[in-house]
């Protein structure tokens, strides 16, 4: 018999974000597979208690809240104190939370404090015959393992986008307030938008558009056309609302002081030392499709590429379609058609 605590932060507007509702879905799946287990909702944030009714019909037996303006600030000390207090108050064996930047920064530390263990970037959970197992990837998405753990509490951080978010009717609930230390030597100052002021990373976009170093290389006329490349890409992003990814080579050119697309940063980098975004479709342009890049495409289902080289990596079973063509000409036409 396991007590499953689902941990969530309350957003600044008082709602529970999509990742939190995905974590609730994961917790419910575990509870359904474990006879006799019970679900507890643990909320943290400025108005945590007031948000609890949103989860009234999720099947929880208890609602706990660590509340106060100091818990609205995203920082380790107070987030860890809140999570620890909630896990202790629930006597939780399993603690499930979304892998948001706040929980990802904190919950391994809390697991350590409580003598437990943690698994992060979990992409699936399975519970049957009294046992829980989770799936996660190792070596930057090169291999997937299914694992069980004997230790408790076991903290499980589920990656956003892996579960259908839970939705249900709100209703009255009895909220138990839990005390936690709100002191910290750190204060949150502000969020910063990308330097260019151009929002290019859109996790919810249908399409990932990847730009490779080819956009800045000498073209058949013997010249580079970086400005034109920037204009074509930005025009495409604005019209298609795609999220912008990049190869490492392209972003590195920027930090080495070469002329590069001004709206790109390391945050856009996809791959081994970049991100592994989730989008239904991906289009790679002027990118060679080398393995350290393509491991970042693990969760992109449909893949197409435009490259001058018919033997580039994408042709080796990494893309569904490779268009052997000049990306400058193709993207100019695409932009035109998108109007």
């Amino acid at each position: 018999m396991e007590t499953i605590l689902v941990l969530a932060h309350v957003e600044a507007d008082g709602t529970l974000g999509r990742p939190a509702r995905e974590a609730i879905a994961a917790a419910r799946a575990v509870r359904e597979g474990l006879a006799g287990s019970s679900l507890v909702v643990g909320l943290a944030g400025a108005g945590a208690g007031a948000a609890a009714p949103q989860t009234a019909s999720c099947g929880a037996a208890r609602w706990l809240a660590v509340e106060g303006p100091e818990f609205g600030e995203p920082r380790y000390a107070t987030d860890a104190a809140a999570a620890q207090a909630l896990a202790e108050a629930a006597s939780a064996g399993l603690v499930i939370a979304a892998s948001t930047s706040r929980w990802a920064r904190t919950l391994a530390g809390v697991a350590q404090r409580l003598g437990g263990r943690v698994d992060t970037h979990v992409t699936g959970v399975a519970a049957a015959q009294g046992k829980v197992a989770v799936s996660r990837w190792f070596y930057r998405q090169r291999m997937e393992a299914e694992i069980e753990r004997a230790q408790r509490p076991w903290f499980i951080l589920v990656d956003p986008g892996c579960f259908q978010p839970w939705a249900g009717e709100p209703g009255p609930v009895a909220v138990e307030r839990v005390a936690a230390s709100g002191s910290s030597r750190t204060r949150f100052v502000e969020y910063r938008e990308p330097v260019s002021g151009e929002q290019t990373i859109r996790p919810d976009a249908e399409l990932l558009f990847v730009a490779g170093a080819g956009w800045t290389k000498k073209q058949p006329d013997g010249k580079t056309h970086t400005e034109q490349a920037g204009a074509l890409i930005l025009d495409f992003l604005r019209k298609s609302r795609a999220s912008l990814g990049s190869s490492k080579s392209l972003v590195d050119l920027g930090s080495e002081g070469h002329a590069v697309l001004p709206f790109l940063t390391h945050m856009n980098q996809v791959g081994q030392t970049g991100s592994t975004p989730r989008h239904p479709k991906g289009l790679a342009t002027c990118c060679h499709g080398e393995e350290p890049h393509v491991v970042g495409w693990r969760f992109v289902n449909e893949r197409r590429a435009v490259n001058l080289d018919p033997n580039c990596g994408w042709a080796q079973g990494k893309a569904d379609v490779l268009y052997v063509a000049d990306a400058f000409t193709v993207m100019a036409k695409v932009d035109e058609l998108l109007g």
């Binding site: 943690v118 997937e144 990308p194 479709k281 379609v321 063509a325 193709v330």
Partner: protein, 269 residues
């Protein structure tokens, strides 16, 4: 001017250009030919090391240690290159560096090694590492190591650290949607799990290499065996997905036609 004691935790991982295959014939899985695969310093930890060296250079009186848990022979190979990049003192632990060991056990070994560093001033301590490894990729080890050392100001996905005139630390961390979060901490001790930062990889500097190697070889000889396994963790399966697709190669087709096909695909799937 304030100076720091910067401890960088960084291990080694297989070169990302290598093909990796899991072997599941013991409780803790491993990689096929793991000891033969060429290794590199874990990339995000490498960024942490470059940032540490850069900060130490600007703050006279600062010192950098690199604490590394890995098979001694492989550590030695990797250190031949890493030692040329930045001045540091190596604290080596001889044990497994594979991704299938548990973060909590690695953290226990690292924390113990850090506690054993002679002359380390905890009131000036900046504990650096990569925010995630290229092996386990969990982002858990640094948090757990920090907790074991009682450090409760922790930051992950760090791209920038600035020390203000009053000695406060201003830190930029990656958060959702391509944004950064700016926080200010009163001062050390802190844990910083670095993302890419802002510095390019430093060129090899043979003089730095010579100076480092005088310390690196004895450190490797002194390396204590460290147990880092995966107690209580059961691997039901480890699989490499079948990732090969049937690629349709479209050649000698006018750009206009390709563009039309792409737009149709973007619009309706």
């Amino acid at each position: 001017m304030q100076s720091f004691h910067i401890v960088v935790c960084g291990s080694i991982v297989p070169d990302p250009l290598q093909t990796l295959e899991p072997v599941v014939n013991s409780p803790v899985p491993s990689l096929k030919n793991e000891m033969m695969l060429p290794a590199v310093l874990d990339p995000w930890a490498a960024h942490a090391l470059y940032e540490a060296a850069n900060l130490a250079r600007q703050r006279p009186g600062s010192k950098v240690w690199l604490v590394s848990l890995g098979p001694k022979a492989k550590l030695q190979q990797v250190m031949m290159t890493v030692a040329q990049k930045a001045p540091f003192e190596l604290v080596a632990l001889d044990g497994p560096s594979g991704g299938f060991t548990d973060a909590s056990e690695t953290a226990a070994a690292l924390a113990e090694a850090i506690q054993g560093i002679a002359g380390l001033d905890r009131s000036r301590l900046l504990l650096f590492g990569g925010w995630e490894s290229a092996s386990r990729g969990a982002g858990a080890t640094m948090q757990m190591t920090g907790e074991r050392l009682g450090i409760t100001d922790q930051f992950q996905g760090v791209d920038e650290l600035e020390v203000t005139e009053s000695g406060a630390l201003r830190i930029l961390e990656r958060v959702e949607g391509g944004r950064h979060q700016l926080s200010e901490c009163e001062g050390p001790p802190v844990v910083l799990g670095w993302a890419t930062g802002n510095l390019p990889e430093p060129p090899n500097n043979p003089q730095v290499g010579m100076a480092n190697m005088r310390m690196v070889m004895p450190a490797l000889q002194r390396a204590k065996p460290a147990k880092a396994g995966a107690d209580g963790l059961t691997y039901r399966s480890v699989k490499v997905p079948s990732q090969r697709r049937e690629t349709r190669v479209v050649k000698d087709v006018p750009a206009e036609e390709i563009a039309r096909e792409l737009v149709a695909w973007i619009r309706n799937g």
